[in-house]
C-alpha cells in the first residue's frame, strides 16, 4: 500500500511506541501525586515543555498540553474571549476546529470577520488589513493549509495587525507546519500556536498550545487545575513523552528537502496529463490535484483497490455542501468535486511516489474514458 494521506494522520514512529509503552506500563504515575515516582514524571513533563519551546523557537511563554489540535484551537479562541464589543478575524481557509469555533462566536453575538483567500490559497492580506481595528480581540490564521499546502506569511500578518492595533492577539494553527517546515515563534511574533502529535508520527490524542502570555488566557474546562489551571485533567503522560521523542528525533530541514523532491516528482508526472490540474503552492507535504470530468471521491475509491490511499481534504469538506476553502480560491463547485489531496511523508521513496503518480493517471484515464 502507498499511503498519500499524511495530512490526515501519520503512522507512529516505532521508537515513539516504545516510549509510549514505557510511560503507559512502567512509569505510569500521576504527575499530580506527591510521591517520588510521580514527582519525577512531573519534572519530566516540565523538561518536555522546555524542549518543545526550544523547537518552536519561543524564548518566552509556556506550553499547555492538550488532547490535540481541536482542543488547542478551542482553548486559544474561547479562552482568550472577553466580554465587551470585541471583534474576531478568521480566514475562510481554517480547519473546522477553528472555523466552527468562529461560527460559535458569531452565534454568541460577537462580530466575526472572515477573510478570503487568494487564488494560491494564502490569506488575502489586503482584506485582512481592512478588517482589523482597535476592537479586534483575536486574529486566527493557520500556518499551512491542510487543503492546499499554502503557507501563510505569518510574520507579515502579525506586522499588519500590530500596525493597526496593540489590542489584538494572534493565534496560529500550526498543525500542518510544526515538524514539517521551519517554525520560529520569536520571529513570527504570535500569541498562540497549535500543534498536534499525530500529524508528525506521534500518537493520536495529544497536542499542545503554545501561549506567549498565560495571563491572557482563561481555562475553558474546569477541574483539578493541571497545566497552570489552563487545562484540567490528568496529563496524557505517555502521549506527551512519545510526542517529545518524535520532536527530538525529527530532522525538519532534511525531511523538508527530501519531501520537496518527492512532491516535485509527483507533480511533474501528474501535470503531464493536460486534464490534470496540480495546485502546488507551498508546503512540500501537501498538493491538491484536480482531474477534469471525474469525481475525486470516485477516483479515491478506485485507487484504494490498487493499494493507493489518497485524501479528500478535511473530513467534512468533501460532502455535498462543497468546499469553502477551494471555492474561496475561485474554484467552481463542480471543479471542487474533481479534486483530491496528496500528502506525503519523509519515509516514502521516489519509486513509491512514481508508482503512485503513474497509477493515479492510469486509473483516472480509465474512468475518464467511461464517463466523459
Amino acid at each position: 500500500m502507498i499511503y498519500l494521506d499524511n495530512a490526515a494522520t501519520t503512522a507512529m514512529l516505532e521508537g515513539a511506541v516504545g516510549v509510549y509503552q514505557k510511560y503507559a506500563c512502567q512509569s505510569f504515575y500521576n504527575p499530580s501525586a506527591n510521591y517520588r515516582e510521580a514527582i519525577e514524571i512531573a519534572k519530566g513533563l516540565q523538561d518536555v515543555k522546555l524542549r518543545l519551546k526550544q523547537k518552536l523557537g519561543a524564548s518566552v511563554g509556556d506550553v499547555v498540553f492538550t488532547s490535540g489540535a481541536t482542543e488547542s484551537n478551542n482553548l486559544a479562541i474561547m479562552g482568550s474571549k472577553r466580554n465587551g464589543k470585541w471583534e474576531y478575524v478568521f480566514s475562510v481557509g481554517e480547519h473546522p476546529s477553528v472555523y466552527n469555533v468562529a461560527k460559535e462566536l458569531e452565534l454568541q453575538g460577537f462580530k466575526v470577520h472572515f477573510v478570503g483567500l487568494s487564488p494560491t490559497g494564502e490569506v488575502d492580506y489586503e482584506m485582512l488589513e481592512s478588517v482589523v481595528n482597535d476592537r479586534t480581540r483575536l486574529v486566527s490564521v493557520m500556518h499551512v493549509s491542510n487543503e492546499t499546502g499554502a503557507i501563510n506569511d505569518i510574520q507579515r500578518i502579525v506586522g499588519i495587525i500590530k500596525d493597526k492595533t496593540q489590542n489584538a492577539m494572534v493565534h496560529v494553527d500550526g498543525v500542518q507546519a510544526f515538524c514539517k517546515i521551519p517554525v520560529d515563534l520569536d520571529a513570527l511574533g504570535v500569541d498562540f500556536y497549535t500543534i498536534s502529535a499525530h500529524k508528525f508520527h506521534g500518537p493520536k490524542g495529544v497536542g499542545a498550545l503554545y501561549v506567549k502570555n498565560p495571563k491572557a488566557l482563561k481555562n475553558i474546562v474546569f477541574g483539578g487545575g493541571q497545566e497552570g489551571g489552563l487545562r484540567s485533567g490528568t496529563e496524557n503522560v505517555a502521549g506527551i513523552m512519545a510526542l517529545d521523542y518524535v520532536v527530538e528525533n525529527i530532522n525538519v530541514d532534511e525531511n523538508y528537502n527530501k519531501v520537496m523532491q518527492l512532491k516535485r516528482l509527483a507533480a511533474e508526472i501528474l501535470a503531464e496529463d493536460e486534464n490534470v490540474d496540480v495546485l502546488d503552492v507551498g508546503s512540500p507535504y501537501i498538493i491538491s490535484v484536480g482531474f477534469k470530468g471525474v469525481n475525486g471521491e470516485t477516483l479515491m475509491r478506485a485507487l484504494q483497490d490498487y493499494g493507493i490511499i489518497v485524501g479528500m481534504g478535511s473530513a467534512c469538506s468533501a460532502k455535498k455542501s462543497g468546499n469553502r476553502i477551494l471555492e474561496s480560491m475561485g474554484y467552481s463547485k463542480d471543479a471542487v468535486k474533481t479534486r483530491i489531496r496528496l500528502s506525503f511523508n519523509e519515509f516514502l521513496t521516489e519509486q513509491e511516489v512514481c508508482e503512485a503518480a503513474n497509477q493515479i493517471i492510469k486509473v483516472y484515464r480509465e474512468i475518464w474514458e467511461k464517463v466523459k
Partner: protein, 384 residues
Amino acid sequence: MKVILLRFGELYLKGDNRHLFESMLIRNIKSKLQGEQFKFEKTFGRYVISGYDDGREKAIVEKLKQVFGLYSLSCAVELPATIEAITAEVEKLQLGNKTFKVFVKRADKKFPLSSMDFAKQLGGVVLSKNHQAEVELYNPQVEIHIDIRLNGKAYMFYDTIKCQGGLPLGCAGRGLLLLSGGIDSPVAGYLVGKRGLEIEALHFHSYPYTSELARDKVLTLAKELVPYVGKIKLHMISFTKVQEMIHMNCSPEYMITIMRRIMMRIAERVCENNNLGAIVTGESLGQVASQTMQSMTVTGGVVKIKPIFRPCITMDKEEIMAVAQAIGTYETSILPYEDCCTVFLPKNPVIKPTIDRCEREEGKLNIEALVEECLAGEETIVVE
C-alpha cells in the same frame, strides 16, 4: 395477575379464512417475543399475554407494537369475573385529585349487574376511597375500564395503546423491495409489510462511483426495517458496468429511464430466482422525472409477469417523511452518501419517455448480457 390484552382489527373481516390469518398472527406474536418469558392465551376475540416478569412489561409492549395485524393493546390486571373481586381491586386505586370515569363492558350477559349499574357502583367505590377525585363523564383524566369476558375472567386497565393494524406479516406472500438508500423505499417496505407482505430487498450499487458507506447505509436501513418485517434477505448487485455502458452509448436524457428499465428486468429475474411474487418500489407520482405516469409506463413495461406495488404512489414527500420518522429510518436515509441513481445524473432527464424511443436506445446495448452479468455478480446478505 398482570397481563397484556391484545386486540386485532381487520381479521374479523376474513370470513372462513380467519383461522389462517389468526394462526399467522399468533406465530408472529410468539416469534416477536422470542427470548421473553411469557404465556399466550387465546380467548374470545382477544389474546392475553401473561406470566412475564414485571420489569419486562414495557419492552414486551414495545415489541408487540411492531407486530402487523394487532390493532391495540392494554396492560391490565386479570381478575375473577365477580362483583366482589372487581370491587376489591377498584378499592385499591389511588387517583389523588384526578377526574375519572369508569367504563364497564360485559361480554358475559349473565353477570348479575348491568354495565351501567356496575359502572355507577364502582364509581362510588372510587369516590369513597379517593375523597379529592371527581367523576368527569366527557373528558376524564383517568379512564378505568372493566372488561368482563365469557371465560369467567375480568380485566381492569387504563389505557388502550394503538398498534400497527394491518394484516399479519406473511399472509400476502413474499415480494422484492427495491431499496435505494433514500427516504421512500424503506417506507414502501414497511407499508407492504403492513399489508402482510414479507420482503426480500434488492440494492444496486455503483462502486467506485458510490461509496462503501452507501452500502453500509442500505444495510442499516434493512436492519431498521427488521423489527417490522422480520429478517430480510438483501440482494446486492453492482450496477456500475450497466451505467457506464448506458452513459457511453445512449442519449443522456434517457439515461435514468434505461437504467430503471434494466433495474426492473433484473428485479423480475431476482423474483423468479427466489420465488418472490411482486416487485415493490418507493415511487411517488410526479416526485421526480422518472416517477411520472409515462416514466412508470416504460419502466414497468419491461416487467412481464410480476405485479409492481408502489405503496407511496399517492403520498406527498412530507407524508412519506412522517412515516420514515415514525418507523425510525429517516435519520439513516438522509445520510449524505450518493446512491447509484445520482451518479451520471443527466441535466435534463426525459419526463415523458416513450417505449419506441426506449427500445431504440436499448438497441445500442446488449441488454441480456448486461442483466446476466449483474445477476452473476449478485451478493446476498441476510439481515436480522
